[in-house]
């Protein structure tokens, strides 16, 4: 028994002397609670809504005001015709479009019923469902409020709900692009960070450093094989999505592949950067896999919209490459957009890649300390 207690005491001592373990023990759960608490939400706040008002009367105005002042929505634009809907969804800020039919107000007063459409962006099924539910509730409320003695007992406003891009609201439209984003960055960063730290651990790095090889050659030399192999990987993943989930690629396949390769390159160079701050493989694995995974899943907008999170998470997610790639990949695959709508995100990814390479080359120690 004494033996056992002595051993337990030693284990406590190890833990308290090792700051990293303490951090894992206490820091990570705290971080998780904070992230899950705030990032994960099943409410909506300030979801962008656009209006296609084909009637333009007092009543549609009132209803619009009610929707916009509810706190759940914020008006993005007033559309002029149906073609604008695709365009505005592609821009990304609008989650739903409310379409009032012609003579909405008149019909409501004379017939006691009128129709409107709520068209939601189906590429984010979670949000789409929430948005339509909330909108429908506000509209029903409006109907009840205004069913006064001057009109019939009830007003019927029938919202016709349509999902744009993802008519059957298949959730894997949301998941598969998100999973692709996550897997690519994790695996690529992991691979390059490990291959460099492995050389450090085994001591072969010392000999490489003393050779005529320049740091940029070593870095690119490490990236190259993984780049090529990852390309094959992307093809594989897309093939799987198509055959198993029937996920279409609405936009240009060439553009999708090009953007994927950019993202992969960025992820590989991120791995190199991680390796410059890790001295062992264990550290590299920890940072690449565990360090990146949770933020990628929760803060990139993969599952939970960034708009619903407190502003600070929004800022944090701005430095996260997956946030941009998700937009790119969803746009191309599900919305079928071209470079026109995703040039900003593409540029950001290019910039990030260059920064990572630059930093890596600079931090890549040509000497041992």
């Amino acid at each position: 028994m004494k033996r056992f207690l002595g051993f337990v005491k030693k284990e406590f001592l190890h833990i308290f002397r090792d700051y990293r373990t303490l951090f894992i023990l206490f820091g990570i759960p705290a971080a998780q609670i904070l992230i899950f608490g705030f990032a994960v939400s099943t409410d909506i706040k300030n979801a962008g809504v656009a209006f296609l008002d084909l009637s333009n009367d007092e009543i549609t105005q009132k209803l619009t005001d009610k929707i916009v002042s509810s706190g759940f929505f914020k008006k993005t634009e007033n559309l002029l015709n149906y073609n604008d809907i695709d365009v505005i969804f592609k821009k990304g800020k609008t989650k739903a479009v409310v379409v009032f039919e012609k003579d909405f107000g008149k019909k409501l007063v004379s017939d006691g019923k009128a129709s409107l459409s709520i068209i939601a962006d189906g590429s984010e099924p979670n949000t789409a469902t929430l948005v339509t539910n909330y909108a429908t509730a506000i509209i029903s409320d409006f109907a009840r409020e205004n069913a006064g003695p001057s009109l019939n007992n009830s007003l019927r406003i029938n919202p016709e709900i349509k999902m744009f891009y993802n008519p059957n609201l298949k959730s894997h439209f949301m998941f598969v692009p998100g999973v692709i984003t996550m897997i690519l960055i994790l695996i690529c960063a992991l691979m390059t960070s490990v291959t460099i730290t492995r050389e450090k651990e085994f001591g072969t790095m010392e000999v490489l450093l003393v050779s005529p090889l320049r740091p940029i050659q070593i870095i690119l030399g490490k990236v190259m094989p993984y780049f090529i192999l990852s390309f094959i990987n992307v093809l594989l993943i897309l093939a799987l999505s198509w055959f198993v989930f029937a996920l279409p690629v609405k936009g240009s396949m060439a553009l999708l592949l090009a953007e994927s390769m950019l993202y992969i390159l960025m992820s590989l160079t991120l791995g190199i950067l991680i390796s410059t701050v890790s001295s062992t493989m264990q550290q590299a694995i920890f940072i690449s896999l565990i360090g990146l995974m949770l933020p990628t899943i929760l803060l990139s907008g993969f599952i939970f919209p960034i708009e619903n999170m407190p502003k600070i998470y929004d800022y944090v997610s701005m430095i996260m490459p997956p946030r941009y790639f998700i937009i790119i990949i969803k746009n191309i695959m599900i919305k079928g957009t071209g470079l026109l709508y995703i040039w900003k995100e593409t540029l950001i990814l290019i910039a990030m890649t260059i920064v990572f390479i630059g930093l890596s080359v600079r931090k890549f120690k040509i000497r041992l300390e």
Partner: protein, 306 residues
Amino acid sequence: MQKVIESSGINKSFGSTKALNDISFDVNESDVFGFIGPDGAGKTTLFRIITTLLLPDDGELKILGIDSITHFKELRKNIGYMPGRFSLYQDLSVEENLNFYATVFGTSVQENYDLIADIYSHIEPFKKRLAGQLSGGMKQKLALSCALIHKPALLVLDEPTTGVDAVSRSEFWDMLAKLRKHKITILVSTPYMDEAMRCDRVALIQNGHILTVDEPQNIRDAFPRKLFAIRSASKYKLITTLRKFEWTNTAFPFGDSVHVTFTNDTAYNSVIEYLTKEGISDAAIEETKAGIEDRFLELMENGAKA
């Protein structure tokens, strides 16, 4: 003869630990130069500075006539380095390792094959075997071949014989001796004192200080006192008793005898009597020549520089 390495006043600290203290030494072309000292003496740190992997805090270091701090890129093409732990790619074969290093240095295995032929011939039958599956002695030979393949002017070997059995160690030094004819200057570090005798010149290093630099015979011969070897079957009793003898200066076990120096030149005449009185009846004494290790111990005890 050109000096391959010229250094003076090299200092290096890591945090509060001073790893190297005012190191100064020269190495001549084609020399086999040994750094002899235990772990923690500073050998690896010094070698890393020489191979340009670390910067000294201060001091001057010229290698092959070039300043090592500013012109390290040129130097790296002309140095062959074999760090501790052999640093080979465990998952590549013997052949693949050799080809890799040849290519990285802009040459091919065939070009300088004559240089490594003697060494490589021992492992060539296993050229398809993965480096991780070789024995210690074979890894040593492969690492040496890889370091030599680009015909460097300076070969730096950090503890190549550590952890390897006595037979392989001896073979390794035979191989190094044969390299002399190719005019390659070799810098070797080792904790084994006896290997000092196989070098042209030697620096004894301890705790970041160089105790002395000279040809091994000179170091040996400069032993300041008469040295005696005393034998007895009761080894431990012999040592403890000798230490109590009033004229004993130093007494160290050395294999099957104890090496003793006396503070008094004539004391050796009376020591046997003393030992017999103390119960050691089979003690035998003879004067002996000091070896490198004796000198090392003497220098350590006195903290002197020669």
